[in-house]
Amino acid sequence: MKFDDKVPIYYQIKNYLYHEMLTGTLNPGDKLPAVRQLAVDLTVNVNTVQRALSEMITEGTIESQRGKGNFVTADTTRLAQLKEQLVMTQLAQVYEQLHALNLTDEEIIASLKRYIEQKGAGQNA
């Protein structure tokens, strides 16, 4: 995997794992690869993987079981929260940028609708 070297790597590892968890590559309760294996797969440092996992354990998105490894939480409510949080983060960026172009909230909603309709039309064509 290619990382953006301007952004802390541990943060990008977390986002990578969130993505795996929310798109179903890793399901609730699934075991994560071993720390060193993740480091090799992503070509990053073991310590950086460890930092990303520690933060995710604290957040409750993954759970550590002594001697067994790390598992995606089986708490689907927590995963739904995570998804909501990621969606809001993405929207916040779009919202900020459109606001910077002096669009009102109504105009933002209208443009978003227009965008989705046009995109849908393009895909059906």
């Binding site: 790597i9 090799v40 070509t43 073991v46 950086t48």
Partner: protein, 236 residues
């Protein structure tokens, strides 16, 4: 966290010329650290001072060893194989390492050699630049020790060899060992570095965590490193 390397007030002169002055540097256990600096900045010299093959003034402690002789047992340095006859087979070099270093683990060597696709029957003169670097890495990492010093392991080799070497570093660095890797081009190894140390103007100009640099400066590691030579980091 305990330190694997502690250097205090290290100064080194060669032929009356000051090469390194007032170096203070401590490295924690378990880290991968990039040693950066221009050609001739003194990176190799610093490594040779750590191993004890060069003598300066000041204190150098590796694990609990302070004398040059005692330090050698705790440091695995990527020797450039210059002492070997070019007609010697890889397997003979491996025998030599096994005899000289009591911490040389033959099983580890074979795992590394398999991974890096090194054929023990080849003679040194038959090795490409990439193969030669792979052999040096396998020999260096096959020792089980506290501190690994890799001196420009990526110089002039193709990208596939480079990727293999990076991968072998991630897989075979013992958890409790620290690794110092020198390079003058940081981009390719930046994702595997915990910290960088920059040698500039005969001393340590910067010692910083890579993720701290990324989050505080918003720059990638290469740009940050280059900014040190452009008259300081731009904070605008």
């Amino acid at each position: 966290m305990p330190n694997v390397l502690a250097i205090q007030g290290l100064t080194y002169k060669r032929n009356q010329k000051l090469i390194l002055k007032n170096i203070d540097l401590t490295l924690e256990t378990g880290k991968i650290v990039g040693l950066l600096g221009e050609n001739g900045a003194g990176k190799t010299t610093l490594m040779r001072l750590i191993t004890g093959s060069a003598q300066g003034s000041g204190d150098i402690m590796v694990s609990d060893a302070t004398t040059a002789t005692a330090r050698k047992a705790h440091v695995s340095f990527s020797e450039q194989l210059h002492g070997f006859n070019k007609n010697v087979k890889i397997s003979r070099v491996v025998d030599f390492y096994q005899t000289v270093y009591s911490d040389f683990d033959l099983n580890r060597y074979h795992e590394l050699a398999d991974f890096l696709q090194l054929n023990g029957e080849l003679k040194l003169l038959a090795l490409s630049k990439g193969m030669r670097e792979k052999l040096i890495i396998a020999l260096t990492l096959a020792r089980q020790t506290d501190l690994y010093l890799l001196d420009e392991p990526f110089g002039g080799i193709d990208s596939m060899s480079r990727k293999k070497i990076i991968s072998s570093i991630i897989q075979w660095k013992p958890d409790n060992a620290t690794m110092l890797i020198s390079d003058h081009y940081v981009t390719e190894i930046a994702p595997i570095l915990d910290e960088i140390v920059v040698v500039k103007d005969q001393t340590i100009a910067v010692h910083q965590k890579t993720d701290t640099i990324r989050s505080e400066s918003g720059m990638d590691i290469e740009d940050y490193y280059e900014s040190l030579y452009a008259g300081g980091v731009d904070h605008d």
